[in-house]
Symmetry: C2
């Protein structure tokens, strides 16, 4: 089986699983309890928080452990908007559904900033869309469909300018920048202060860590209203007894990802090149992932007039596991908004395939996968 | 070490751990993906949902998997209130902090219904507190400090009467009943329809299941606004890629708890009696858990003029792990609102100790623990 859907899920790293094991059965105590073995777990959580903080250039107190990226994103957007219920949220046209739906769910007004044909947001377009009523901008660092890397530092510089201007003009509304960096942590440096973001989401499940583990970086001074209330864990921003296993697993996964991302990017880049080139030679193929500034994990290709879902099923039957980019979510039928946003036509969207590589993907996998895809596409075309 | 803090955390049941193992590393696929091994996980999740449904007398589509009880509670309260932002929420005076803080965080008006000296809410008091603007009542089934079981069926009958009356009078506001049954699932039948509740919270971490696993039962027809948005998982009420390990672990834990609760209750009842009697003979001891209708796991006792936190630390040093009931949460200094609500004075609250038994607790543990407590209290009194 050749697994080419790492953007959907990554296997648990054996080192991560190993790190979680003591917290599964043996060290089960509630970290808020007062006795020695519970306080030892509290100390460990503090240490994992420091470790995560140091990996993303943040103070430990800026790290909020959550139960996954959708929760982090909802907390970032809902948390800001619930403090400013009448304010506006600005998002790009290629955001993950968690960003789109959180913005729609919490904000009374949402503006969508378009992208170019490579999926890149232009800073000028963001600047033009900001009003004095905008409280939050949310732009994903790396697009999970195309791999496009957004010019986040330029965006944060723009945000800083607007803040200074607001301050001069006595406009009270804060302007905050959130980024969903779920698809970035495996390939890029994610130093929050270098990026200049106020809020940053990470997802354990996308970096060979435990599922439903995540982090929201919350820069000092940023005020959020929590979504989940209770015992006041995570500085009151995410109540509920912690899962130390999820926390240690996340920290270990992030450490491995951030220690190895340069080498792994270098290793995957020629595979991406090979995959893109070979897929490009299939008759009628359209490569959708064309940004020069993209991560090496993803190739998004379309075979117009082939049904993406049928293609995925036939690839499955032939031992290649991949995703169609046809639907917005695997479970619904809305056409993919990311491909729509880069201007793909209906038949290109319908016939799209997203291949995402991972740490185990070899050159041999890629060559075999291309042969299988070539055959399957040819068969489906001639049916 | 004698662990008497099962109300704070329970160890993972070996059968639960075993059930989770295949979903940790090997079966890591995203259940929303389209290929065979992913769809097999989707089928498994459907089956676990059916199993949980059948254990609580609900349809599978009424079960929402969450990342823990605080999230379930916040979703129940926030989910209803966000649909009716001007409406009022009614809670008892002995609710868990997740209920109190969610109500405060989401509702513009919160009414607190008092309890009697045994911690029981009187149905008449609830009826008297309901106004035409009340949209939600939240009363925990079993109090986690005292073990007091609330008359939930009487409360739901009262709610039903009010609904009928509202309907006759053309009052549009819905009236819903939520219960946090986290402390109940180990000791009582939790059939949602027999209890007559619209919303019910369960906590995997309190029934020897995985931490940050939980369920919210949402009766058909109840409309909630989600807190966590995204890919539309859990019928759109809790987005985010599922953790199949947490789901199977929760289902297995609930199955074990609900299969064994009668026998385990019968086993623990004489231990509770022994513990209560022997603690009662310590000079000055005040038993706080006095309800006739209580679960057999908990004994709450106070030693006035002894500091509860100091007591816990000395017990820890002598091999007994227990909780003080002095503070509302282990991590803050607010006096325990549950003991306040039953009319305990300051020094009784300050010197309180909550002992909570579990499946491994033996008669020998209880006898040893009582001896140690007797000695430690005596030493602390004579310092």
């Amino acid at each position: 089986m050749i697994y080419l859907d790492h953007a959907a899920a990554t296997p648990l790293d054996p080192q991560v699983e190993e790190s979680m094991r003591p917290f599964m059965a043996e060290r089960f105590y509630n970290p808020s309890s007062l006795y020695t073995p519970a306080r030892a777990i509290r100390t460990d959580i503090d240490n994992f928080r420091s470790k995560v903080g140091s990996l993303v250039g943040a103070k430990p107190s800026e790290i909020v452990f959550t139960a996954g990226a959708s929760e982090s994103i909802s907390l970032a957007i809902g948390g800001v908007v619930r403090k400013h219920p009448e304010a506006e949220v600005l998002i790009s046209a290629v955001e993950h559904s968690a960003v789109i739906e959180s913005a729609r769910g919490y904000a009374s007004e949402v503006s969508i900033v378009p992208v170019d044909s490579r999926g890149t947001v232009r800073v000028e377009d963001i600047r033009d869309s900001i009003t004095d009523n905008t409280c939050l901008i949310s732009v994903g660092y790396v697009n999970s469909e195309l791999g496009t890397v957004q010019p986040l530092r330029d965006i944060s510089a723009c945000v800083e300018e607007v803040r200074e201007d607001r301050s001069k003009r006595g406009v009270d509304m804060p302007l905050l920048l959130h980024t969903d960096a779920s698809a970035a942590a495996e390939y890029l440096n994610i130093d929050c202060h270098l990026l200049g973001v106020d809020l940053l989401t990470l997802n354990g499940a996308k970096i060979y860590g435990p599922k439903q583990s995540g982090v929201l970086f919350v820069s000092h001074g940023v005020e959020l209203e929590p979504l989940i209330y209770g015992g006041g864990q995570e500085r009151g921003l995410r109540s509920g007894s912690e899962s130390p296993a999820a926390i240690v697993g996340f920290a270990k996964a992030l450490e491995i990802a951030q220690t190895g991302y340069k080498q792994e990017s270098k290793r995957q880049a020629p595979l991406q090149k090979l995959l893109t080139e070979r897929l490009g030679t299939i008759e009628g193929a359209v490569i959708n992932s064309t940004s020069k500034n993209r991560t090496p994990g993803i190739v998004n290709v379309s075979f117009p007039h082939v049904d993406g879902e049928t293609l995925v099923h036939h690839l499955d039957a032939n031992g290649v596991l991949a995703a169609t980019g046809a639907a917005c979510n695997a479970s619904d039928d809305k056409p993919n908004h990311v491909l729509e946003a880069i201007g793909a036509d209906k038949s290109t969207i319908q016939g799209s395939l997203r291949l995402s590589m991972g740490r185990q993907t070899s050159r041999d996998d890629i060559e075999q996968a291309v042969d299988i895809i070539t055959n399957v596409v040819s068969k489906l075309r001639h049916r």
